[in-house]
Symmetry: C2
Subunit: 442 residues, 2 copies
Amino acid sequence: MSERQLHLNAFLMGVGHHEAAWRHPRTDPSRLDDVRHYANLAVIAERGTFDSVFLADGVQLFGDVRHSIAAGFEPLTLLTALAGATSGIGLIATASTGFSEPFNLARSFASLDHISGGRAGWNIVTTAGDRAAQNFNRDANAEHGERYRRAAEFLDVVTALWDSWEDEALVVDPASGVFADPDKVHEINHRGDFFRVRGPLNATRGPQGHPLLVQAGSSEDGKAFAAAHAEAVFTAQQTFEEGVAFYADLKGRLAAHGRTPDQLVVLPGIVPVLGSTEEEAARLNDELDDLIVPTRAVHQLSELIGFDLTDHPLDERLPPFPPVTRINGAKSRFELVRDLSERDGLTLRQLLRRLGGGRGHQVVTGTPEAIADHIETWFRGGAADGFNIMAPLLPSGLEEFVDHVVPILRRRGLFRTEYTGTTLREHYGLARPRSRYSALSV
Amino acid sequence: MSERQLHLNAFLMGVGHHEAAWRHPRTDPSRLDDVRHYANLAVIAERGTFDSVFLADGVQLFGDVRHSIAAGFEPLTLLTALAGATSGIGLIATASTGFSEPFNLARSFASLDHISGGRAGWNIVTTAGDRAAQNFNRDANAEHGERYRRAAEFLDVVTALWDSWEDEALVVDPASGVFADPDKVHEINHRGDFFRVRGPLNATRGPQGHPLLVQAGSSEDGKAFAAAHAEAVFTAQQTFEEGVAFYADLKGRLAAHGRTPDQLVVLPGIVPVLGSTEEEAARLNDELDDLIVPTRAVHQLSELIGFDLTDHPLDERLPPFPPVTRINGAKSRFELVRDLSERDGLTLRQLLRRLGGGRGHQVVTGTPEAIADHIETWFRGGAADGFNIMAPLLPSGLEEFVDHVVPILRRRGLFRTEYTGTTLREHYGLARPRSRYSALSV
């Protein structure tokens, strides 16, 4: 298998990514609060030798309460539980730079990296929306650019703390009573615009040095951040042409940061709606779209893109969208929805159906062979290094992907048949960073 | 077993509570970073039908780096891993009210409660020391009284968030598409001196309603806080008389808060140094004390009590202690150390030996029968509802306690032979709280 290899991430989301998944007879919504459901998903993904599983996150209750799908879990604790249920697969949790302290976050991810034997990844988000800010002592959220400036400084503090114990810092000599080499444990003495942090971290360096750094924003600020810092990027791209353009844009930005294209992996999201025939797949897609509750969907969409559509009549064409500069939400998702609605002249109801499956990620309906073809086309055509797999129903959609699509990708020589490394970085083919302090003392 | 029953908590601490534990040939310090070591400890405690295991915490690196014993774990993630390795025992994590956001902490503990099936407990600490504050954007820590005022408000926000989803809030009706009853999900709209939090929490109510609330400060502020809020109290008491006085004091304060004595469980710490004979136990105690590194010990002590003794000659008697009003550290531990040193006229070296085993907790050296007698005396004599067991060496000291002391306590009818409930609250005989919002609507 010397050929370039695909990377696959299983994006876990309750009982499925389709927003009406919990209403479909193939799911069991009573399992939303059952950790064994999520453990089962991770085990299925590991059977499929996926690089990783991933949990998204927000720090607010989304949408209207009546239709909001809530469960009891926070990503870092849930992923820690999944670490114990698996042995090889990577574990990526979303955590926001907006509403926590870098010291706490650095510790928690270092801890997950230790517990999992080097399988931790952090999806760095800045968190949009005033509702989130109102859970954290503020009336309104910070402006988009400021959120990203805070994120960059937050990340700098976190990585410095991960580096504050060099790999060789532990002496652990019972005879002399010396536990650590004080020359290899560093105060970071960070003083910036947002944070002052002395350090060192009170956790030793994890197996990966730094947990894998993932990013998912595709706005101008988001791409600039990703090019400077991210090692894997989740993105929503509706068409192959857009995918190629995004991929080239992002990879092209790396050189300015002294990075090479292979140091960042681009993973568009894809919702595979599978059937043993095209007709069966299309039927499942229709069944799901018919279960969408428009009230819920329009609330979710309005919060997602930061543009209120809740008063717009369902069967009228959408109003003109405001300039993106006036949006303080997820800017890239706003633009994606605007382009989709303007290009095809959609009514609100049509738009909700178009987005219901994947919230802006491409929904691909078809047989396992057709889905594999789609994946291969994007992968070979310069639009993706792999995919973020968002099964519409869980566990069934992930099981079908692992049992029917993964074998095709393997037969084509595109995807691993077993893990060749033990850490998440090794799965993604990314180097283990040295401590910034070790580098200085060389 | 209708008789009043003991409660036992296993306080887990690296390879042992004695500060020189890692230097003793019976421990393996290479396991400090190995999650399986901690899982093994939890399994041993569960075999002994302990009520719970407990992890302490700080948000700084303690003492001088050369002798500081650091590992890679943060308590909430580590306990989540232990949840998967066990099925019945409670899981108590320390978390500070000083340096995190109530929304984040409420979510993480709710998540652990869901993951563990109702076995989560929170040991509420305010965190002393400027070194801690310097990791969180400040030069100095807040003053003792202000820390407790912040803690009380923090706790009020956290419990309101846990209550924000009433138990009956989930409808989950696929046919109608209604997921939750909006009349049973509440914004908390907290506006206080320290926090403004809108809510609701984005996590459903956990199996216990509220994870168990534990507290460990024994200062005047600490006792007032415990009487108002805590359901279990960890405390350091050197003598039986002090234990009786503390127990009566704390239980006597409950009525003023409309609480009964059985709503708060008092658990003094005890370091059992076990031997099959008194001589064997005393020899182990000496071996451990001989391994103390004075430089390390004096650093740890100075930080613990907030009074710098690092320049004091080891073999001279201690200087007069300053008034406790000038101390902004752990006030009750300061007073305990001051009383011990003044009462017995100790040199610094003698004091370090006296404290080395338990950092102020009583060290009891003897046979299993003698330790059981000691426990029974305190339990029947009104000094304790149970004990916080701090094995000097781990795992060996915990194994010996479970295999040799627990059977004696069981034969005497003082301790359970199997779990009679499934949640941590049930183990401690404490009621499950109703949501404050449910109570209003009755």
